[in-house]
Each structure stands twice: as structure tokens, then as C-alpha cells.
Symmetry: D2
Subunit: 307 residues, 4 copies
């Protein structure tokens, strides 16, 4: 087993880099399609706040669906457990990430908060209880990362909104089943802003340390979540965090994780560390191809797995 340090991370990136070229950069909006495919970064943050990093770990990218963990975290602090989970489930979908099929069969209740439908319901709930949900999210993330300049990429958010037909269909379908309270375009705007946040691997590792640290972030008095809530989110990430590739990811990497189509993945070793990787090319399930490989290598080299 290897010690965790920058050299190890560099070594891991060296091993993962040859995979670049075998995946596909997300291209459903131009803003994402333009990201250079050869970017590759990794950062690890341990419980004491030490950060190890390698490659393009300080370059910001679009966190996309990684934001679904943040919106769920926010909702868990504003809603009672029973309110939240009557509107969204906790089970893996067994379907591509934006299918309407299942949503219709299951009467407008999304399977979990990490598929688009589920995250839209969560945003709808935030819209109801927060006066300024976009501003509030920025405050949370800036506080978790101690980086006051983290922001939305309004160009990406607008571009997503311009290509939002399928997400609009999902939201309207939920509305038809009575599971969507607010104005559809308004919630879509919030949702796409959350997706458009740009953060680096270093910032993401710091941001999600609370998931490795029983709900506590660095240098903050108040806990973000209770230890139990933290375990719950980690459980949900293992079963549903990687679109339709959660089983494969658990099998290979053995950590709770959440990916975004921007090529980022965050993962945690509970009680030890949070990790962020970035490589824009995706595999068939929509998860970063080289990023997953880097996490698998890291898990092997440091001998960590929740299993």
C-alpha cells in the first residue's frame, strides 16, 4: 500500500491518462463541448484539511450533476425527512439518467434525488422554502470551500436553458401528477444555475469534506448535516450516484461518489478523506472515463474501500 501524497496522485494520473481518447466529451450544449478533452486533475482532502493534488486540479470546470448532492444537502436542512422523501424515492433507477418512462409508470415520483427528475423536485422544494435559492446555494458553497469567488457560469446556464426541452417535459410530467409546485421555467432556471457552477478539484474536495467527516466541514462551528444524514447521503451516492453505472462504480472503486457530465466526480472514504477528479471524456453511462479509472487506482494504491 502506498502513502497518500502528491507523488502518488501524479503517478495515478500518469496511469489513467492513456484512457483519454476513448471517451466522449458531453456535447448536448456547445459550452460543454468546447472543454479541452485532455484536462486531467485530482485532489484529495483529509479530515485535518490537508490537500494533496496533481494535474489540472486548480482549473475550474462545470460541476453539473455534482450539484445535485449540494441541493439535496440544502433540502435536508430545510425539510423534515418525511416531507422530503414522500416526493422523491431512494432507489436506483435502472434507467438512463433522464428517462420519462419510469417517471410515468411510477406516477410522477422520481426514483432518487440524483436523477434529473429527482433533482428538479428538490429544486422545486427549495424554491418553495428559500427566498433566493440561487444566492443561498452560492453562500453555502463559498462557505464550504472558503472561496468567496465561486460562481455560476451564466453562459452555461443560459445555454442549458435553451436546450431544456427534455427537462421541461420531466417537470411538466411531475406537475401533471401533482408533484411540482412552482413555476416550471423558474425552477429550471435555478436548476441550470446550480449545474453551471464552476469549481476546481481542489475546491470540490474541500467542499465535500463534510461527507467524509460526519457532516462537519472545515473551520465551521455548525455542522452541515448530522452524522446520520451524512451516512444517508453516502448510501444514496453508492446506490444512485453514478447514473446507470452505480453498480460498476461500486464494484471497481468501492466508495460513495457522484459524477457530473462536465467530467467531474467527487468521492469519499468515510472518516478519512474526500476526493475530486476531473477528466471531461465520459463513458457510456455518462461518467468520467479516466476519472473513474483514477479513483479505482487510488482505491487500490491506498487500500481503501467501504466493502
Amino acid at each position: 500500500m502506498s502513502a497518500l501524497d502528491n507523488t502518488l496522485l501524479e503517478d495515478i494520473l500518469r496511469q489513467a491518462r492513456p484512457l483519454i481518447g476513448q471517451g466522449k466529451v458531453a456535447n448536448y450544449i456547445p459550452a460543454l463541448a468546447d472543454v479541452p478533452a485532455e484536462r486531467l486533475g485530482i485532489a484529495v482532502c483529509t479530515l485535518d484539511g490537508t490537500v494533496y493534488q496533481a494535474g489540472d486540479a486548480e482549473e475550474r470546470f462545470s460541476i453539473q450533476s455534482i450539484s445535485k448532492v449540494l441541493s439535496l444537502t440544502l433540502a435536508m436542512t430545510r425539510y423534515h425527512e418525511s416531507e422530503l422523501w414522500q416526493r422523491v424515492g431512494k432507489e436506483p433507477s435502472g434507467q438512463p439518467f433522464n428517462s420519462l418512462l419510469q417517471l410515468e409508470l411510477e406516477q410522477g415520483k422520481p426514483r432518487n434525488p440524483f436523477i434529473n427528475a429527482g433533482a428538479l423536485v428538490v429544486c422545486d422544494m427549495l424554491e418553495t422554502r428559500l427566498t433566493a435559492p440561487r444566492q443561498r446555494m452560492l453562500e453555502v458553497v463559498r462557505s464550504l470551500t472558503q472561496q468567496p469567488e465561486i460562481n455560476y457560469d451564466r453562459h452555461v446556464a443560459r445555454s442549458e436553458f435553451d436546450h431544456s426541452a427534455r427537462n421541461a417535459a420531466i417537470a411538466w410530467l411531475m406537475k401533471s401528477f401533482g408533484n411540482f409546485a412552482n413555476d416550471v421555467p423558474k425552477v429550471l432556471q435555478t436548476y441550470f444555475h446550480y449545474c453551471s457552477m464552476t469549481m476546481s478539484c481542489v475546491e470540490l474536495a474541500r467542499c465535500f469534506l463534510y461527507l467524509a467527516n460526519h457532516g462537519r466541514s472545515l473551520g465551521q462551528e455548525a455542522a452541515v448535516l448530522t452524522p446520520k444524514q451524512t451516512r444517508q447521503i453516502n448510501a444514496l451516492m453508492v446506490t444512485s450516484g453514478m447514473y446507470d453505472g452505480a453498480g460498476e462504480f461500486a464494484w471497481r472503486v468501492g466508495m460513495p461518489g457522484k459524477s457530473g457530465v462536465g467530467g467531474g466526480i467527487i468521492a469519499v472514504v468515510p472518516g478519512e478523506m474526500s476526493i475530486a477528479v476531473w477528466s471531461p471524456e465520459l463513458d457510456g453511462s455518462g461518467n468520467s472515463l479516466a476519472g473513474t479509472a483514477a479513483l479505482e487506482l487510488l482505491a487500490e494504491r491506498i487500500g481503501r474501500s467501504i466493502f
Copy 2:
């Protein structure tokens, strides 16, 4: 946090017992419907072989789908990884446990080895490579438990075979896609015999200790599986071990587990202990209702979770 001992287990059963009456005993075959609903047992086996137990922990019951972990284990020792996983997937199904819908859409490749379709493919593979797959399974289980009298319940096996129309449909559908090599009734017979094995909680806890112990069972020279294979099975149990309730189980219990419609559940704390519970009444997803509650209580009381 409480120390693990018989008193703790008895206390947990006392708390879980009031749930009896809120679930439903499986009744698709008469032999299962006749099991007394008030049975409740638990057993824990730690890495050194110590067994703690409470309630009806020594009464044998039909292990049903828990056998799917054993058939997969056997297949992993007889097939190369690439051979095995080209015929069955690793992803949660997001569907009730014996649906043909998904199997047809996905061209006859079952989502994972813990749904009926997947376990049937695994049995088909064992049929190909083992000369006496039923006898071989008994040898494996007798060796793992050190109980030479563990056996099939031929009455249950026959009864299942007499009600096997849906499983036959599943097998024939896979055959139509070229993913089933042997005679359908022959493989069904093997499959139902595996399901009909009767074991007690104490025997199950001992049997599955290898999943908590890096692949090694008690008092056996040779490892059952490699440490990596063991982690892989545990990963698969978390994402797919509880039919369409895997997400909820991970959320509440936080351990890899596998259930059977006989009301048994096995679970492991990797590196520490294996656990078996039994209560015949099932929840809406087909998992033991009081059994799940007992595992949740145990996890809380001893402060264990993989998350």
C-alpha cells in the same frame, strides 16, 4: 454504543418484534405460506468465529434468494471475470425482482446476478462447468458451515418447480437471445433446489463469514474468494441485494446484505462480522420487515455502517 453480546441481540429482537403483523408471509407456494409468522431470530459471527444469537436463531428455514450469493460465489471460482460478466450485468434493476420488461429491452442480459434472471444465468453457467451442481453446492455450504447435514427441502423445491411458469418464461426469453445454454427444466430444477436449502441464522452467519473476512472462511486452508472478489460481491449486494429496496436498505442499515422471500437476510460488516436475521413477514419490496428493522437497530447500537 453497546457491546455486542447475546443480551444486546435479545434487546434488539424485543424492539423489532412489534412489527410482526405488519408484513406478509410469502405465499406463492404453499410450503412457504405455512411458515409461522411469529418466528424471529438473529445471529452474529465475528471474525474469530464467536457466535452471538437470540430468538429462533437455530431453527432452519428456506434461504431462498440468499442462495444467489452462493451460486455467484461458486461461479466466480469457475469462470474468468470476463466470461461471467458478459452474460450478466452489475447494475441495479430498478424493477420488481422477476420482471421480463427490462430483460427484453436489454436483449436478454439480466441486470445483475441477484434478480431471478441473473441467478438463472449463473445456474446455467454452473450447469455447464460442474458435473453435479446440486451436490457441489451442498458440499460448499456444508464445508462453510461445518454442518454436514444441511440439505435441500425437496418438498419446497418440487413445489417451486410446480409454480415455475414465470421463471420458465424468463429462462426461455434469455434462450431466445442466446444467453442460456442448457436445458431449461434442468436448470430450473437446480435453481429451485438451491433456493430450497434450509439453514438457521447461526448457520447462515457462519456460512457468510467469508464476505466479512476478505474471502476466508473459518478453519479452512484455502480462501473461498480473493479479497478483491469479496469486495466485489459486497459492492453488488449493496447496489442490488435487496430487490427493489436496495436504496432504502443502504440508507437505513448501511451494510451489504442479501434477502430471501423465506424471510432471511444476511449482512456483513466488512472486516468485523457477518449477521443473519430471520422473520418471515415481508415488506412491499419482498424483504423481511422485522428482519430489516433488527439490522437497522443493530447497526445503530453497535455504531457500525460502511458509510
Copy 3:
């Protein structure tokens, strides 16, 4: 066989009336739920313009999906065959009338122009080519019926728009597949206005005489459609005109027909007559229960069937 006259029609209504009470008035919008369930009317128009009638044949009601035949007729006069049918199919759906399931599996191309999705595409096409699609439809219907005061029920149209979540979902889903060109709310408005048109059985029978008369309406110089186009619409009505009850309707009635959830049905005996019936209570497929029975009785009594 009986001669066609008012007495026959009255006799038929007498036989059909006892069915009232066994169906259900559509209640998804209040404006429809309020229609008195005991209304029952029938009108027949022969090629020479003679009208026979009985019961509430002159009371206007919401024609709802019967308007889908009119929007298709209009589209067939404004689009070349190949343009039209590349955006909508000609096959029965085998599904309830507003399912998204099939639409997603078939990449946003609706099965036929008589399900909601298909009619929405047709309205989208009319929006593209007509400067005032709502006004134009009124002109067409007023001309076909010679009743200049036929109009939309703006109360019903508004009420439908207020409950349009599912149709919005359908339109957005088609947009996500590139099969919807115009602004969704604008097209929905047009669509709901068409549905909200109020006409009586007598007016409907006159209106649809062109389908019995090789495309020609009464007292108009120019044909509405060519004889071939007329046969095509009749064919489409037989295979897809009655939601998921087209097979049963063909079996029992043996005429091309189209129903609406307002309880109206129009039908034709090609080369002989057009028929309209009205009874607000619907059967399980969404077709007028007593209305279907009246048509079946009429077909038997006058010995007419296309089969």
C-alpha cells in the same frame, strides 16, 4: 332491415338509454364534469343533405377530440403528404390516449394524429403555415356546417389550459426530439381552443358529411379533400379513432369513427351517410358508452357495415 327515419332513431335511443349510469362523465376539468349525464342525442345526414335526428340532437356540447379530425383535414390541405407523415405515424398506439411511454421509445414521433401527441404535432404544423389558425378553423367549420355562429367555448379552453401539465409534457418531449417547431404554450392554446368547440349532433353530422361523400361537402363548389384523402382519413379513424378501443368499436359498429371525451362520436358509412351521437358518460377507453351502443344498434338496424 329498417328504413332510416326519425322513428328509427328514437327507437334506438330508447334502447340505448338504460346504459346511462354505467359510464363516467369526464371530470379532469370542471367545465366538462358539469355536463348533465342524461343527455342523449343522435343525428344522421345522408348524401343529399337530409338530416334525421332524435333526442338532444340540437344541443351543443364540447366536441373535444373530434376536432382532431378537423385539424388533420386542415393539415392535409396545407402540407404535402410526405411532409405530414414524416412527423406523425399512421399506426394504432396500443396505449391509453396520452401516454408518454411510447412517445419516448419512438423518439418523439407520435403514432397517429388522433392521440394527443399526434394532434399536438398537427397543431404545431398548422401554427407554422396558417396566420390565424384559430380563426381559420372556425371559418372551415362554419362553412362545412353552414352555421356561422359555431364558436369556441373560451371557458372550457381556459380550463383545459389550466390543467395542461401532461399535454405540456408531451409537447416538450417532442420538442426535445426536434419534432415541435413553435412556442409550446401558444400551440397548446390553439389545441385547447379546437377541443373546446361546441357543436350539436346535427351540426356534427353535417360537418363530417365530406367523409361519407368522397371529400365533398354540401353546397360547396370546391372539395374539402380528394376521394383518396377521404378514404385515408376513414382508414385512420378505423384503426386509431377510438383511443385504445378502436378494435372493439370496429368489431361492434363496423364504421370509421372518432370520439371525444365530451361524449360525442362521429361515424360514417362511406358513400351513404355521416352520423353523430352524444351521451356524456364514457366507457373505460374514454369513448361514449351509450353513444357506441346507439351506433351499434343503428348499424344493425339499417344493415350497414364496412366489413
Copy 4:
């Protein structure tokens, strides 16, 4: 409009022949794949028994699913209407011809008797009421055609049985829902024998004259079906006789018809004539490509359509 005679039929075949090469001969069993693609025949039988023909109208071929009309006819003479239609529906499937998806969603009741599932249920019902269902079918067909040497092609029947996995899956699925009474392999054998019958266009046209003639066949005292039953079968053929291409066939040809993957199609003009065409290459829906075109040309040339 042209007069119906052999010259007209030859002219039609000349026009349709260039389509040969654009379809695909069924190849799921070797016996069908070997049929020469360039075969093309047509025969028409008028109510007085006159037969017109052109091309390969006297060469026998495998009638395949055309036999589903015969097994339904036979069942309608042995079962009361209510018994028959509680086990099989009357609606188009909106699905490829051998899908299990819909059958599972609809609890094992096939949509109509012309898809495989429905025909299997019909054969299961014949198995229950007939002592020798294969022999009885031959007697019926020999009597209808006055050709005592019509027979099964046992080579084809055996080949189908050897490739019957999907049909076995369908039958077992229905059995799991309680909608299949007899031994699955036994019923499959009967079903495949029916499919394997070999007949020529001339024989088919004669055989199905009863569908054009109010249920009466040539030179037989007793009617095959009542006039009402005859209309019912014709209705069912229009809505469900052409797999997932019934809408298109009604649109283009305008006659009740039933196709088989051997490349044959039978069609009727009620009250006038029965028609059979043969061309082995199929279109995307599984219907004879040139055969459909020939029927469309015939309908145009003689000016016949039920619409």
C-alpha cells in the same frame, strides 16, 4: 376503372415486380430463408367461384401467420363469444409482433388473436376442445379449398419448434398469469404445424372466400361462420391483421387483410371477392413488400376500398 381479369393481374404484377430486392426474406429459420426471393403471385376468387390469377399463383408456400385467421375461425365455432374474448383482446398492439413487454403489463392477456401470444392462446383453447387439433385443421382447410392434398410441411414445423424459445417464453408468461391451460410444448407443436401449412395463392383465395361471402364457402351446405362473425373477423383483420403495419395497410390498400412472414397476404372485398398475393421479401413491419404494393394497385385499378 379496370375490369377484373387475368390480364389486369399480370399488369399489376409487372408494376409490383421492381420492388423485389428492396425487402428481406424472413430468415429466422433456415427453411424460410431458402425460398427464392423473386417469386410473385396473385389470385382473386369472386363470390361465384371464378378464379383469376397471375404469376406464381399455383406454387405453394408457407402460409405462416395467415393460419391465425383459420385457428381463430375454428375457435369461434367451438367457443362461446364470451369465453373466447375473456382470454384474448380485440385491440391493436402498437408493438412488434412478438413482444413480451405489453403481455406482462397487461397481465398475460394478449391484445388480439393475430399476434403470436394471441394465436398461442387460441391454439391452447383448441387443444382443450378438439381431440386432434392438427388433423381437424387439415380437414377444415381441405374442405374450404376442395384440395385434399393440402398438408403441413413437417420440415418447417420442426425447424420452427427448434427455434421456438421466444414463443415458449410467451406461452410460459401467459401460463404464469393463468391464461394457458395445456402443456406448453404440445401447444407449440400444434401452433407451428398450423404455421407450416403450405398453400398456393389460388388455394388461399378459395379458402378465405367465406370472409367475403358472409361466412359461406363455395359448394358447402353449412356456413363456416355467421355473417356477424364474418364481419367481426374482417374488423379484426383491419385493426390488427398486419402486425405493426395495420394502419399503413388500411391507409394504402383499404381492405381487411392478414399477412404471414412467408410472404403471403390474404385480403377481402366484403361481398365481392377474396384475394391472395405472394412475394417472399418483407418490409420493416414483417409484411410482404411487393405483395402489399400489388394489393394497393389492385384496389386502385378496380376501384375498391371499404373506406
